[in-house]
């Protein structure tokens, strides 16, 4: 026996069909992947801003006035002297007071002034606890006449580092642009604690305290000590406080976004399944010819399945690339739209599509296995 010609290498190519149809199907899958990833990214982006800020490394505990458990929708202040009382507790390494309020911020070029209401965080800048999670330009505010703006807010106001904006009537200079600080409905702005205190007339009473624990300190005893030492206060672990804030966001626009995302994902998966089934059904005649010539139904079925999966995975990969490109373009040219593209979504979407395609194509492939080879005789 010499070197037998293997049918597999011909079957795989014989079952590929026309290039045009494969391109169309692949493009459809890519569009579905882009839709799915964009919806997932928008959904995640809605909560990622608050989670990125509240859940920063080093923010081990949050101390809030009693009956207030989140930053997003709250009003209240801790008693004067709370900061010193917390700092004195064993296991506390650092304390950062935060003064939080909504304020109108106005800026932009003359003749095109714009006004936004932002969630303004006063903190002890430039390096105290409570500052922005990340800066994409400039630095954190270090004096009462400086402000750092979320990049989406800066884009909407049409300002950048060096520009002057008005916060509740006071002129301040933009010194930093932050990221991970977009809440969809509003954005963060960061100012010096003293400036915020003066503007609000808080008289040294912070809205919240952020606590960094000493290495090895257990959070629960410190929480209990804080609640005992600081009158009318409640302490939260970072994870609990993140959860509370996400819950507040979720009670607003998120349910609608979640519904749209779920429906969009369902449509995307159904579209991929339909395309996969169409691709498999499209191979019916060639399958009948191959079966008539003596190919095994199993080999033909696997060939069709491989053909479908290849197109779906190529299309999904193109969709992933398009989603990354879209996210990058939005970040650069329209940062008001926060798309939180995550690697697990980038992997999950093609995997879900491949599974849906395999399921849909398997039905078609099983039918192909029952194709009457006599069909090859039909003109």
């Amino acid at each position: 026996m010499g070197n037998p010609l293997r049918p597999g290498r011909f079957l795989r190519r014989a079952l590929r069909g026309g290039v045009g149809r494969a391109w169309l199907a692949g493009s459809g899958v890519a569009a579905a992947a882009l839709l799915a990833l964009a919806l997932l990214a928008a959904y995640r982006g809605a909560t990622s801003g608050v989670a990125a800020y509240v859940g920063q490394v080093g923010f081990d505990l949050w101390v809030a006035p009693r009956r207030i458990d989140n930053l997003v929708r709250s009003a209240g202040q801790l008693p004067a002297g709370a900061e010193e009382a917390v700092r004195a507790i064993a296991g506390v390494a650092e304390v950062g007071p935060i003064l939080r309020s909504f304020a109108a911020v106005e800026g932009g070029p003359a003749g095109d002034r714009r006004r936004l209401t932002l969630l303004v965080i006063g903190f002890r800048g430039p390096s105290g606890l409570g500052g922005p999670p990340s800066l994409v330009a400039g630095h954190a505010p270090a004096s009462p006449d400086e402000i750092a703006l979320d990049r989406g807010a800066a884009h909407r106001l049409g300002v950048g580092p060096g520009a002057t904006v008005e916060v509740a009537g006071d002129r301040v200079r933009v010194v930093g642009i932050t990221s991970g600080t977009n809440l969809l409905a509003t954005q963060f702005a960061f100012v010096d604690l003293q400036a915020a205190d003066d503007a609000l007339g808080a008289f040294g009473r912070p809205s919240f305290l952020v606590v960094r624990l000493a290495p090895g300190a257990e959070p629960d005893p410190v929480k209990r000590a804080i609640e005992a030492q600081v009158e009318r206060s409640a302490a939260f672990s970072r994870d609990d406080f993140v959860r509370n804030n996400v819950r507040e966001i979720a009670s607003g626009v998120l349910p609608v976004l979640a519904l749209v995302t779920v429906l969009g994902l369902a449509v995307a998966v159904a579209l991929v399944a339909l395309l996969a089934r169409g691709l498999a059904d499209d191979r019916r005649r060639d399958a009948a010819v191959l079966l008539a010539l003596g190919a095994s139904p199993r080999a033909v079925g696997l060939g069709v399945l491989a053909h479908v999966e290849k197109i779906v995975l190529l299309g999904a990969t193109a969709g992933v690339a398009a989603a990354l490109a879209a996210s990058s373009a939005l970040e650069r040219f329209a940062p008001t739209v926060e798309l939180a593209v995550r690697w697990n979504d980038l992997l999950a979407a093609p995997a879900a599509f491949a599974a849906a395609a395999a399921l849909a194509a398997t039905g078609a492939v099983l039918r192909l296995g029952r194709v009457d080879p006599v069909e090859a005789f039909r003109p």
């Binding site: 026996m1 010499g2 070197n3 037998p4 010609l5 293997r6 049918p7 290498r9 011909f10 079957l11 190519r13 014989a14 079952l15 590929r16 069909g17 026309g18 005649r285 060639d286 010819v289 191959l290 079966l291 008539a292 010539l293 003596g294 190919a295 095994s296 009457d372 080879p373 006599v374 090859a376 005789f377 003109p379």
Partner: protein, 231 residues
Amino acid sequence: MTALELAGVSKVRGCGPLAVSALRGVSLRIDPGELVLLEGPSGSGKTTLLSVAGGLLRPDAGEVRVGGELLPPGDAEARRTVRARRIGFVFQRSNLLPGLDGLENVLVQAALAGLDEPLARRRAGELLDAMGVGHLAGRRVGGLSAGEEQRFAVARALVHSPSLVLADEPTASLDSAAGRAVVEALVALGRDRGAAILVATHDARLAPFATRRLAIVDGGVGPARGAPGEP
């Protein structure tokens, strides 16, 4: 050895009130090198007979042997194996696979028959040259004329040196000259290789090439009108 032997073959197509006895106790022998025409009006059962003879359909009763090998009615895998090794098909349309080029369409049958690659390539090359399409071997199916496609289909049917070639209206989609050329090549190359050829056709131009002409009427097979043995 007989190339094709049908013994008491019956086949019903369809089911329920639409069931039709397409073949009723058909017995038939075709020897190597013979070209037998199978005539009859549309719907008379010509394609059913070809399908049963080719192991594509199993008979409800009777036996089918190709090159002496039984096509077991209850064993689709065994029928498939015999089909791949011993039978060649020429369809009304070429039914070339558009994902492959001309040569690969020929080689796919050789691969299914288990031929060694050097032998398969040599035979395919010889056949394509003999069919006058050797220079088109690398061309995609979409770039071939109907006549050229059918010549590749004939080469595909012969590349594994089958005992039997079954052809269903092989000239129906071709003009007169192309049809004649395809049939002449099929007959010459088939006979050279000792293959029996059974052709279902309406095309009277094929009669001069036939060693026998049969007609299928009411599910039975007998000599065609005007053929030797038929008044």
